[in-house]
């Protein structure tokens, strides 16, 4: 596969993982009080500030031949799936941060009103909370996907840079520059920059609309 195809595959799989794991986490952090909540949130956000090599090192330990997954028969080192996992872990905090803020900004009174109308918790989430938090959640997903797309350091440590198998676009750029193939590098850099620019533009658009909308209950309580 070409670097573009590999990047697309890794990003799609990583984004799916980010949504699946991130959405429940964001809801949990926004709506539930439980012991260890701050600790959990800190752990999720840690990849934002850790050097990618450190994240990669942890993954290497976890996925390596002595690690628990390998002993269970799952070998992800130096595969595109390993690259996707590294990308998901690095992209997750951005999604959780944005989605948590969006869910927390939905007035709980609206959820109560839906319960009074007979809605169970899943329906409340599907028809009230998520539609009202939609823009913030989608902005978080776009940010997480963009971050996953641009992942370099952790991926290099976990998946290497095997052309055709794990060499995504950021890795291919590094490889091209190392080898003096500046023509290839120019093309890839331009493509990457355009994609990153467009995704940030989309996020800005989503966040502006989210600010302009009344997500709160429609009348202030004067009590």
């Amino acid at each position: 596969m070409s670097p573009l195809q590999l990047s697309a595959l890794v990003t799609i799989v990583a984004t799916a993982a980010i949504i699946t794991v991130g959405l429940p986490l964001a809801w949990l952090l926004a709506r539930r009080r439980f012991p260890g909540r701050v600790l959990l949130e800190t752990l999720i956000l840690l990849p934002l500030v850790l050097p990618p090599s450190v994240v990669g090192y942890y993954l290497l330990m976890g996925l390596g031949e002595a690690g628990p997954l390998a002993r269970a028969g799952v070998h992800l080192l130096f595969t595109w799936q390993g690259a996707a996992l590294a990308s998901a872990i690095v992209g997750l905090p951005l999604m959780v941060k944005s989605a948590k803020a969006a869910i927390a900004s939905v007035d709980p009174v609206l959820e109560d009103a839906a319960r009074i109308c007979g809605s169970g918790e899943w329906e409340v989430m599907a028809r009230i909370t998520l539609p009202l938090a939609r823009r913030g959640v989608v902005a978080g997903i776009v940010l997480g996907a963009a971050r996953a797309f641009g992942e370099f350091g952790a991926t290099l440590m976990v998946a290497g840079s095997i052309p055709g198998r794990t060499q995504t676009m950021p890795l291919a750029i590094y490889d091209a520059v190392q080898a003096g193939r500046y023509g290839d590098a120019h093309t890839l850099v331009l493509l990457t920059s355009v994609l990153a620019f467009l995704s940030l533009l989309a996020v800005a658009h989503l966040e502006r609309d989210a600010d302009g909308r009344a997500v709160q209950g429609t009348r202030a309580v004067d009590a």
Binding site: L110, I116, C117, G217
Partner: protein, 373 residues
């Protein structure tokens, strides 16, 4: 064959206790096919009590039965229960209206019957009924407070619930809209056989809509009764204060019997019409007299029946005049003050500016002794 009617179970029966950081809500209340007004100052726990009934707040102990079904029980004998809000089958118009901002008025109302294929037709009927049909496609943010209020009411009615909780439903409305909505509610309630628990801190709402009134203060329901009865005969000083009754008198019984009570009010001897059971001599009681029942005595005219009792010389301390009424405060020889209110055009020959001497009479029938303190 003669059939005995089954003992009617009240639609709403609440007996709960809940400790809050600043307040202990302890309420016992029954209502059935009527508007029960929960009246009291803000912070009395009225909204909390509605939330308890709705299942949005969880009391510490007690029992709640809706239409004969126990939906909450704890520490009252029998197995504990706590039916979640979504299965309590009540309609609730919250103080903030809580309309879903991402849905139109029609979608908001239809949400309450979302399993019903006819939901949009029914929602439209209800909006029409509340004169909101032309706003069906509008989002809440495009509606005024009064319009949102009516959409919220339509949504609460849409689920065909028999019990309706309304929290300050007229607070944000102007007078014509308030009158209209109250008329709508007065018309719809008996038609639908609804039991309505209505929270308000405005006495006017209670008089306009309430069949009965429950006065709530500091988390407790202090008196329940027909609205006019509670207003005429508040059971306690606290209720009288909550009802905004002026001229509360802390007095002592000198004697009672023969349809009247003689009181000592800090050295002034007053005669009141007796009501209810006889009071023991020397009992400390609270009495009150509405400002309209304090009359001014013309110094140069014969004494009429209306001013035959409780005539006291005092001095005007303040004087306020509006288009329809004048209100004066009169300092009495016992060091107390009393408020006097009369039509703006009455007593024009008598000087009533601050500092003027004035003779007042407390109408015997207007002076009411509260039974318990």
């Amino acid at each position: 064959m003669e059939t005995r009617p089954a003992a009617r179970v009240p639609a709403l029966r609440v007996n709960v206790r809940m400790r809050l950081p600043a307040l202990v809500v302890e309420a016992h209340l029954e209502a059935d096919n009527e508007v029960m007004v929960l009246f009291g100052p803000s912070g009395a726990g009225k909204t909390t009590l509605l939330n308890i009934v709705a299942g949005l707040a969880r009391p510490d102990s007690g029992e709640i039965a809706l239409e004969g079904q126990t939906v909450y029980r704890r520490d009252t004998g029998g197995p504990s229960r706590n039916v979640p809000a979504r299965r309590r089958r009540i309609g609730y118009v919250m103080q903030q209206y809580a309309l879903f901002p991402h849905m139109t008025a029609l979608e908001n109302v239809a949400y309450a019957r979302r399993r019903d294929p006819e939901r949009h037709a029914r929602a439209r009927d209800l909006l029409d009924l509340l004169s909101m049909g032309s706003h069906a496609a509008h989002r809440p943010s495009q509606l005024s407070g009064g319009q949102q209020q009516r959409v919220a009411l339509a949504r609460a009615l849409a689920a065909d619930r028999r019990i309706l909780l309304l929290d300050e439903p007229f607070a944000a409305l102007d007078a014509p809209m308030r009158d209209r909505l109250q008329a709508d509610l007065a018309r719809l309630r008996p038609e639908l056989g609804l039991t309505v628990l209505l929270v308000t801190h405005r006495l006017e709402d209670a008089f306009a809509l309430g069949d009965r009134l429950a006065v709530m203060r500091s988390g407790r329901i202090e008196q329940v009764g027909r609205v006019s009865d509670v207003f005429r005969r508040p059971a306690t000083r606290g209720v009288a204060e909550a009802m905004g009754i002026r001229n509360l008198l802390a007095a002592r019984v000198i004697a009672s019997g023969d349809g009247s009570v003689v009181l000592d009010w800090d050295g002034l001897r007053l005669v009141a019409a007796a009501s209810g059971s006889a009071l023991p001599p020397d009992a400390a009681v609270t009495a009150y007299i509405q400002p309209e029942d304090v009359k001014i005595v013309y110094p140069d005219r014969p004494v009429s029946d209306a001013v035959a009792y409780n005539v006291i010389d005092g001095r005007v301390t303040s004087h306020h005049e509006s288009a329809s009424a004048r209100v004066i405060q009169v300092a009495l020889p016992n060091g107390r003050e009393i408020e006097v209110r009369f039509p703006a055009l009455s007593y024009r020959p008598i000087p009533l500016e601050p500092g003027c001497d004035v003779r007042v009479a407390l109408r015997r029938e207007g002076l009411t002794v509260l039974h318990a303190d």
